[in-house]
Symmetry: C2
Subunit: 527 residues, 2 copies
């Protein structure tokens, strides 16, 4: 029997709240004790990754309280219920089924009269077949020529996740002979976005993927028209250049305006849709269906690890619990995501949506206000770039910001250079481990301007190389972390009512149904 309860009702949370000044991180990470922590505070993940939490402000007492909290909050049972197809998205009365796009960890889930695992794999197979036909040249443009570029039109989850995944694997695919088509992305309703992409795209050989679950997303439909105009102006037939990814009930589903349509459904939120055909069509076209399949396998294996009930053996659960300790006991308001991998340049932007849109909420799943902080601000840029930018504040600012590092032993491109006795990749790796220690231990200095207080916690996920499998595991890790945190905060992490009001007011502005300050602001904008 699952009980959905607020965080502050659990005895373990009261226990945890008493452990506020428990750990002197700088001391813990010093000397042989520190080395021992590094060797032991690690949880294996799938695809050769591991989650290392030696530099987090935790000790046995804190971890024990976190284990108790995980048990009292029934994190595993709630995850199992989600996997089994229960209505976890209570606000919208929907199942939450994105895990089914990459595996089946519970019994058959039926909805809308179909087995949903079968439905998702069917769509994936259709996307794979379509990509193969494009690659081999049996689906072509009007002149029978092969498509060379794929352009995704979508916004939010239809953009950030697929774009981040594409960038993450682009170099890898080029290096491993899997690069099939360049992918580009149009998202913003700002006409300069579409204009920029279209001006530098060979339209005659471009295939557009229009992604909108409802078929009514303002930005996406506007950009579709923009693209159709450009295609017609170039003497091309838009219906020969465009496919749709949408729900079966959407107006786009059976339109002759598209070469074909691939289907998603209401059980997968946009920010959880990279492993559905929202990511599957564009990524299969760009890198081939086999690469996308490997990406799904990495996610599926990580999903399985998240079933482990002992928090210290479950990387996503432990990451989630430590995050709640940092947010609700230590009182840190933000978290930085810092991948030491240029390929992950847009991964923080994806996590920003995933986390902030899922858990940036003030009422619990029953609509009652919660009396504790929920989702933090998430931001980040790749290292080492960030070191030369905002790390100053992270090291010496007045607020402590917990850090989530990611690093790989090997690069993707296989091009490197040795300078002063080390390769670029070694310099990259040396920098990330140096940063962890600088943040944790700090440095005394007679000049207070050059002193570092230390005590700034971080974790790092380390892998061999950013492969399709590793990327899938990484994505699943964070999706499941956010899910577990939502369970702990007793939120519905799967709706996003906070985005609605702005849409409604924007419509009023465009139809001139405004008064007061909204009218006055509209005047300023000549609307």
């Amino acid at each position: 029997m699952i009980n959905w309860k607020n965080l502050d009702t659990y005895p373990a949370f009261r226990e945890l709240s008493g452990l506020k000044n428990e750990v002197n991180l700088a001391l813990e990470m010093s000397g042989e004790n520190g080395a021992q922590r590094v060797r032991t505070c690690a949880v294996p993940m799938a695809s050769g990754l591991a989650y290392h939490y030696a530099a987090k402000s935790v000790n046995e007492k804190v971890l024990s309280a976190l284990e108790n909290l995980a048990r009292e909050a029934q994190l595993t049972e709630k995850y199992q219920a989600l996997l089994a197809g229960e209505i976890i998205n209570t606000g919208e009365k929907r199942r939450v089924l994105h895990h089914l796009t990459r595996g089946q960890l519970a019994g058959q889930v039926m909805a809308d009269g179909v087995d949903k695992r079968v439905f998702y794999t069917e769509q994936q197979t259709r996307a794979a077949d379509f990509a193969r036909r494009v690659h081999e040249g049996s689906v072509t443009n009007e002149k029978g020529e092969k498509f060379t570029t794929v352009v995704q039109i979508g916004i939010g989850g239809s953009d950030l996740g697929p774009r981040a995944m594409y960038l993450a694997l682009e170099n890898w695919a080029r290096e491993n002979g899997c690069f099939r088509m360049e992918a580009r992305f149009i998202s913003n309703v700002d006409p300069d976005d579409a204009a920029q992409v279209l001006k530098s795209t060979d339209l005659a050989h471009a295939l557009f993927v229009l992604v909108s679950k409802s078929g009514t997303t303002l930005e996406t439909l506007t950009n579709e028209s923009f693209v159709r105009n450009a295609l017609r102006s170039a003497g091309l037939d838009p219906s020969r250049h465009m496919v749709a990814v949408t729900s079966e009930s959407s107006p786009l589903a059976s339109s002759s305006d598209y070469l074909c349509a691939f289907f998603m459904d209401d059980y997968i939120g946009g920010r959880y849709s990279s492993t559905s055909c929202v990511g599957g069509v564009v990524l299969s076209l760009a890198f081939g269906p086999e690469v996308f399949e490997r990406f799904l396998q990495g996610a599926a294996e990580e999903d399985r690890l998240a079933l482990e009930p002992r928090a210290t053996r479950n990387p996503a659960m432990l990451d989630a619990l430590i995050g709640v300790y940092e947010r609700n006991v230590l009182g840190y308001p933000a978290t930085a995501v810092l991948p030491y991998s240029q390929a992950l340049s847009r991964f923080p932007a994806h996590l920003q949506q995933l986390d902030m849109e899922s858990n940036g909420k003030s009422v619990n799943r029953f609509g009652e206000p919660v009396s504790y902080p929920t989702g933090p601000v998430i931001f980040g840029e790749p290292g080492t770039n960030g070191q030369h930018s905002f790390y100053q504040l992270l090291h010496q600012g007045t607020d402590i910001v917990p850090l989530q590092f990611v690093g790989f032993k090997a690069g993707q491109a296989g091009m490197d250079v040795e300078i002063q006795g080390s390769t670029s990749q070694q310099k990259l790796c040396a920098n990330v481990v140096a940063q962890i220690m600088a943040f944790a231990c700090g440095k005394k200095d007679e000049n207070p301007n050059k002193a570092f207080a230390g005590g700034r916690p971080s974790s790092i996920i380390i892998g061999q190389q950013l492969t399709p499998e590793a990327l899938g595991s990484l994505l699943s890790h964070f999706e499941n972390k956010v899910m577990f945190q939502g369970f702990l905060w007793n939120l519905n992490s799967f709706d996003q009512e906070g985005v609605q009001l702005g849409k409604v007011l924007a419509k009023k502005v465009l139809s001139h149904e405004t008064d007061g300050a909204l009218r006055a602001f509209s005047d300023l904008m000549d609307l």
Copy 2:
């Protein structure tokens, strides 16, 4: 006589601290009162921009306390002292002279035996002349062919600012016949970054701009070697393809490895260097020197406006003061920068460095710990994209995050499409004004999940179009805002000691001089 004092020593700050629950923003912005606020709470900026603060949580009382604070903290006098060349960067005992790259608002500033305004304009003229010779074909590659691409190699301030400015003007330049050369950027020591750029660059026609003030930046020198290897492998002569931007005392200054060198100095920090030849060389090459000159003019005019002592007529000063009220009285830990302009896609990343590296500090300019919060976390993405991502938390999260919007009435590309009675640009503008009102006023709803508390403050800078002048003004606005906040917090905003420790430890890792946890982490990375 200037007194450098901590924020909490000013009587006006105590006055301000008593005004914590002063303003009911939702109420203030309602009805005719709200419309009146929108019409009156605006400060003209240069280049046709204006700073609008109607939706900030301020009223006459708060503004009056802020005016007092500005006077007591001698903001104008401190700015004048900076302009006059006093040693404002006390930690490094340096003048702070970036304003001189675009104008002269005080008397002659002599340093190192030269008039620094003359020095900066000479370098700008040299960059302009060089760019013209490249464009007309009198500086060419080995074969006498024109260069078509410029690639900047730099990190931090040598990357983020110039890159953001390039992206901001790329569409505008194409539309206005000023687009001369494509620019690209290599920054990260991750070898995949350089590999990615080089693989898609026509090396034979590429001109590289190496930017390092000291001539010793690890990432930049490593990437230089990377590039030189690639050029040699392509049978090209690196010294015919590379210029340097550096200080006169750097090892790069007189090296025959470069076609020529342009000079900066220690009085301009990296994050303030976009208007120096750090931005000037690449932007003059990309868009022509006339465009760069217009950009400087926009900044110079905005710098002049920042001399106005009355805060309510000084946009940068008012923005700074309201930010301090939000940070130190209302207790908000982060600020989001949200440009409704795809061209400003990397402007938030530049502001993130500018702000967090300048004011993310815990000791005052005398090295004494301060007892109040200083610089907030800064993050942001362009709208409308952000609306479909992290705005959920901004609207309904448990923390309030003040918002800085930027919007333009007209797009840059001159390509637009009308759908359902409005253009894309109108939809973009309608969205930003709708968001301001949604954040300020919220919405009651019987379903608490769909209710919006409101009371979430924002400001907006509105302009006609993002031109070179407008961009210069926008940049200057934020630089001066950060400067005024540094004065208020009594920080040295112009050093960055917090970036040093990581560099030192990374060197130790690479030379294997490590023990304890750092050794153990290095082992994990196979170092």
